[in-house]
């Protein structure tokens, strides 16, 4: 597993078409995947076991971000201080702020209340699990919508698996109530300060957190007239 910044080439090809990304973007290799078709480094002679594919996610953006992104980032830095936002990612016309978990409540409050920012509506909160990012496995993703300025922003908080606590933003956005419960239910992120953090979609006594990557899909093999098809997570995979 490697991590490193690579300046992306002048263009990338997407499905045969040339896509020229914006100046402010770098690609960061977050993981290298090996093998294909479920073959993992064994003594196979097909060659598929030795295939290497780096996963390059959009990395930190450089200033200027473009459009209104700069003024929002500046205003937020003014209000919440320098250390609140760890990094800014600008990708595909969307602004993502990686926020430190200690500051998320303050950042949310400023985003909602300040006249220049005015993100009144929290669209939703969900989680993403990146098991290869040791120390930052669980990401809570907040999507905010500013109806006054007609723009969106994404906040991302990364917490380690060993200590999955994030302050709850229910006091700022009451709609976060069920969304945080759902994120807890599926990923195990514990939102401190939530009025009633319990499972919402799974049965109350369900063990485990289903949408984590190590949780199996849980299907059964399907058999019909002598032919068996394995469940989806045990079939051959191309990635």
């Amino acid at each position: 597993m490697t991590g490193g910044s690579t300046q992306d080439p002048s263009s990338t090809t997407v499905g045969g078409e040339e896509v020229v990304p914006s100046e402010a973007r770098t690609l960061e290799v977050v993981e290298v995947r090996e093998g294909m078709f479920g073959v993992r480094g064994s003594g196979d002679t097909s060659g598929y076991g030795r295939l290497q594919r780096p996963v390059a996610m959009p990395g930190t953006a450089r200033r200027p971000y473009g459009g209104w992104f700069d003024e929002v980032a500046d205003r937020l830095e003014q209000l919440a201080g320098e250390g609140a936002v760890e990094s800014v990612v600008v990708d595909r016309d969307e602004l993502t702020l990686h926020v430190r978990r200690e500051s998320i409540l303050e950042v949310a409050r400023h985003l909602r209340d300040d006249a220049a920012l005015r993100y009144e509506l929290c669209s939703g909160i969900s989680g993403v699990h990146y098991p290869h990012e040791i120390g930052r496995e669980l990401h809570a993703v907040y999507h905010l919508l500013s109806m006054t300025h007609n723009r969106r922003i994404r906040l991302e908080v990364a917490v380690p698996d060993a200590d999955p606590h994030v302050p709850s933003v229910v006091s700022v956005y009451p709609t976060a109530d069920w969304h945080e419960r759902e994120t807890y239910d599926f990923f195990g992120i514990i939102f401190d300060g939530h009025p009633a953090l319990t499972r919402i979609l799974m049965p109350d006594d369900w063990p485990g957190h289903p949408q984590r990557k190590e949780y199996p899909l849980g299907g059964i093999p399907v058999e019909y007239k002598g032919a068996t098809i394995p469940p989806p997570d045990e079939r051959r995979s191309y990635s």
Partner: protein
């Protein structure tokens, strides 16, 4: 004009079982157990275009105590399974279960942790109806097949004999897993 005119001397002979079967199938009230997409097609079945009222089934009884047929329409999640069983237990005999749609019959496309892979894991099913979702015409077809089954249901000791013979036939039948060869 009517049936009465055609009968010789105006008298119709039948059996008690035939009459009981006829009454039971003609007034076959479903319990509302619509869960997901199939429930919408089930409601279309009750709607004017695919009228269920012509079969005597327009009253979808909310109370399982008054229902004869439980149409499990939709995917049954792990959380819903005990509720399903409780509703089934509350129904009075004779009761029938129709698994509508592939999710109710076998888990459908959702072969995962959250969906029970077929309601026959929970309740005994009398009719499986595949489709995602099945058209209302397909639902009518399955209901018609259930009607023939109900018409032939006997009473009393004949019923117990019928159950025994059905069980014998089922035990001696070739299981689907042994039917190797063409997947048809």
């Amino acid at each position: 004009m009517g049936l009465e005119e055609k009968l010789p001397s105006g008298v119709l002979l039948t059996t008690v079982e035939g009459l009981a079967g006829y009454f039971r199938k003609a007034s076959f009230w479903p319990a509302t157990f619509g869960l997901a997409c199939c429930a919408i097609e089930m409601m279309e079945f009750g709607a004017p275009k695919y009228d269920s009222s012509r079969f005597g089934m327009e009253v979808f009884r909310a109370s399982p105590r008054q229902a004869d047929l439980m149409i499990v329409a939709g995917r049954v999640s792990q959380k819903m399974a005990p509720v399903l069983r409780q509703i089934y237990d509350q129904m009075a005999n004779p009761k029938y279960v129709l698994a509508m749609g592939v999710c109710a019959s076998s888990g459908g496309m959702f072969n995962n942790y959250a969906i029970v892979q077929g309601v026959d894991h929970i309740v005994p099913v009398d009719m499986y109806l595949p489709g995602c979702p099945p058209r209302p015409e397909m639902l009518i077809d399955s209901v018609m097949k259930l009607h023939t089954k109900i018409q032939e249901t006997k009473l009393g000791q004949h019923r117990l004999d019928q159950i025994d013979s059905d069980e014998k036939v089922a035990l001696e039948a070739v299981p689907a897993s042994a039917m190797k060869g063409l997947l048809r």
